[in-house]
């Protein structure tokens, strides 16, 4: 949040300066994993980084400028931005097997549960 404030302050009146945007996210949980999806349009696979810290997952993404520097913009609703969002990581997530994929501007992160956290159904004999 502090970063975002700082960036908003640094914004030039022409709207072309870069901002930090918190990407919109969805998350669901199954018996084996957590699936996290983030809207990050305009980034590229190479410009997205996931940092896994002991208790935190942070997602960073850079969007390259869409227009030439001197382009004459008649409409400008798409800001120049960086994406940044952080999530707390509980003990039940197997940090070694986290996987991510980027398709159609959406980043999907698969966070597998540790064996101990997986839901098991115990049959009654």
């Amino acid at each position: 949040m502090e970063n975002a404030k700082h960036d908003a302050l640094m914004r030039r009146p022409d709207g072309l300066a870069e901002k930090v945007v918190v990407p919109v996210a969805d998350m669901f949980e199954t018996s084996d994993e957590f699936v996290l999806r983030l809207d990050m349009p305009g980034a590229t696979k190479e410009a997205i980084h996931l940092n896994i810290e002991p208790d935190r997952l942070s997602v960073h993404g850079t969007v390259m400028p869409h227009h030439q520097e001197n382009a004459n913009l008649l409409f400008n609703e798409i800001s120049r931005k960086k994406y940044l969002r952080e999530f707390n990581l509980g003990d039940g997530i197997d940090r070694e097997t986290i996987k991510a994929q980027y398709d159609d501007g959406v980043l999907t992160i698969l966070l597998p549960k540790t064996e101990a956290m997986k839901v098991r159904t115990i049959p009654i004999h």
């Binding site: 930090v20 945007v21 969805d26 669901f28 996290l36 913009l73 409409f75 159609d104």
Partner: protein
């Protein structure tokens, strides 16, 4: 010029206002967000369409009006899943842009990369800038 504020507000308040729209695209009512850039021989329209497949977008150009229509379809989640966070909005969208210059409609092209739709509309011969030499 004399400026007067009827409702004195702190700087933080002012900042708060635009942070809401800047940070959370959720609160933005127009979808998709677009840019229109004018170049010498063409106009480029850019739209942010995360999670939208190219087959779910329809682009038409009629009477000098470009229209984007489509739908962000829901993705599949397993039956036993528990939803923990749901900020993404699945919805239909439609936006139109009217051009005040001639467009070479037969040569309009569009491509979709990383959730960004880019439409290139070449200007009609009559709309191009010409330099006339004085003899």
């Amino acid at each position: 010029m004399l400026m007067q504020f009827d409702f004195p507000r702190t700087f933080d308040d002012l900042l708060g206002d635009f942070l809401i729209t800047d940070i959370h695209p959720l609160t933005r009512s127009v979808f998709p967000a677009i840019d229109v850039a004018e170049h010498e021989n063409e106009t480029v329209v850019l739209a942010e369409l995360p999670g939208v497949k190219k087959e779910d977008v329809k682009i038409t150009f009629e009477n000098n009006v470009l229209t984007l229509r489509g739908e962000r379809k829901p993705y599949k989640i397993p039956e036993n899943a528990r939803v923990l966070l749901n900020e993404m909005r699945v919805r239909e969208f439609s936006r139109s842009i009217e051009f005040d210059h001639g467009v070479d409609a037969a040569r309009i092209s569009a491509e979709m990369t990383n959730g960004m739709l880019r439409i290139v509309l070449p200007k009609a011969e009559s709309a191009r800038v010409r330099t006339i030499e004085v003899k």
